[in-house]
Amino acid sequence: MSSATASWRTWLTSRSPRSRRQAWLGQAYLGWLSLLRNPVALLGLAIVLLLVLTAIFAPLLATHDPLAQDLAKRLSPPGTAGHWLGTDEFGRDLWSRMVYGARVTLYIVLLVVATAPVFGLAIGTAAGYFGGLVDVVLMRLTDIFLAFPRLILALAFVAALGPGIGNAVLAIALTAWPPYARVARAETLTVRNSDYIAAEQLQGFGAWRIVTGHVMPLCLSSVIVRITLDMAGIILVAAGLGFLGLGAQPPLPEWGLMISSGRKYLFDQWWVATVPGLAIFVVSLGFNLLGDGLRDVLDPRSASR
């Protein structure tokens, strides 16, 4: 086995790869190695993986149906037989609800990631590359969105579109893109006057090809770092919307919604709000740690010359 591993390693770290794929995998492997050297980032990655696995295997991990009520056992404290994290005001098992809540959180996270950064990247690179009037119009638009407090803007969207988890995601995505546009534009400005972009223009490459194939990949690492660092905020806004009753609707096991309903019992039955609160805390922390680590790995300035 070890000799097979060793030969893989030689193949991956070869100074003269023999195909596009080998070259690309080799770079990815080196990135992975430097991530491995960063224990804090690894902890972050472990937490994020734990979230994903929990979401996937929720039916196996849960001890109860997250929606099943048992009023006889309502507000049992942690350690109660059968309910090791206790129950909420309807006697629903908190552990099972927390486990299923991972699915909702992951769903929100994935939907936001699939929309806001893509939109922000497109706006930012276009503004940065074309400059002039395009830049002015796009960046003032970005400024307008940035000027609103994020939660308030999301609230306004949800109020207009109606409560519900889909609309909450849409509202978050609509408020989350401006920072990505800013990051992408700043990154674009540093590369657009470089000699390699000039060389590509001289080769007759069109603007579309240069922006998507040459500028965007260079902005991507900053954007990915920004996403992971933002993820904590996104989860918190989603939880906040849930807490205010504008996001996920009862009886869905969404962490923010769970805190909201536990608030009433906070002084006597602290666990009802604390369990989902801890879940939000840990997952947010995980994304933040991973983001910091990825910044070290992906930052092209730290790449060896």
């Binding site: 100074r15 003269s16 790869p17 023999r18 195909s19 596009r20 080998q22 070259a23 770079q27 590359y129 074309f130 400059g131 002039g132 657009r192 470089s194 000699d195 390699y196 000039a198 060389a199 590509e200 223009q201 001289l202 080769q203 007759g204 490459f205 069109g206 603007a207 579309w208 090809r209 240069i210 194939g213 040459h214 990949p217 260079l218 092209p300 790449a303 060896s304 010359r305």
Partner: protein, 260 residues
Amino acid sequence: MALIEIAGLEVVFAARGEAVRAVRGIDLSVEPRESFGLVGESGSGKSTVLRALCGLAPVSAGRALIDGRAPPALGRIGSRDRAFARRVQMVFQDPYGSLHPRHTVDRVLSEPLLVHGLGGRRERDRRVEAALQDVGLDASFRFRYPHQLSGGQRQRVAVARALMLEPSVLLLDEPTSALDASVQAEVLNLLSRLREERGLTFLMVSHDFAVIDHMCDRLAVMQQGRIVEVLDREALARGAVREDYTRALLAASQAHAPVQ
């Protein structure tokens, strides 16, 4: 007819609200297959002339024509003038800044072919391999990233890229000034050989009199956006220099000349 025709060229940049006149009315013509050099100190406008010729700097007044055609406006919108790209290419000064940091050598060399629709996949592969060989790099370099190459190897890749579209004119902007002396010799030899083999026309910029003298048939000395003097190689060898500025430059460059 001259291949490169510059008449009354002026280039004016706006920098912080002030107009900077980088090139102040120059006239120049370069014949096909000629190798012409521009020598000058920093700020003399020599590189700006190259950039104006290929559309990377604005032509504020006068003409800068290659083969009778004005450069396309390369601006941000991108150029549809593919024919121009196949006639004129450029090699830049800084080998660390002129290759995309996230693209392999293979992509750098094959993308121009792809964009210009030259050959199928197999034909492109063949031409990339041939191009590498032409600039003295073996096939093991094909899938490397720029940071895995030395300065000299990068500059070879930059030369190979410039030649992928088989242009007739090569604009060389201080192609060896960032390289060690021994690597400079290799790259200069490479450029000379390629010019010979392909009948290229060179317009080369350098601050180094000896490099220009070695590479070019004629040269112009530039100072503060103007041409001070045009000399041919023979006149230079005889020391038939008219202007004091040229003489001062020549004398100063002696400090770097090999000890005889």
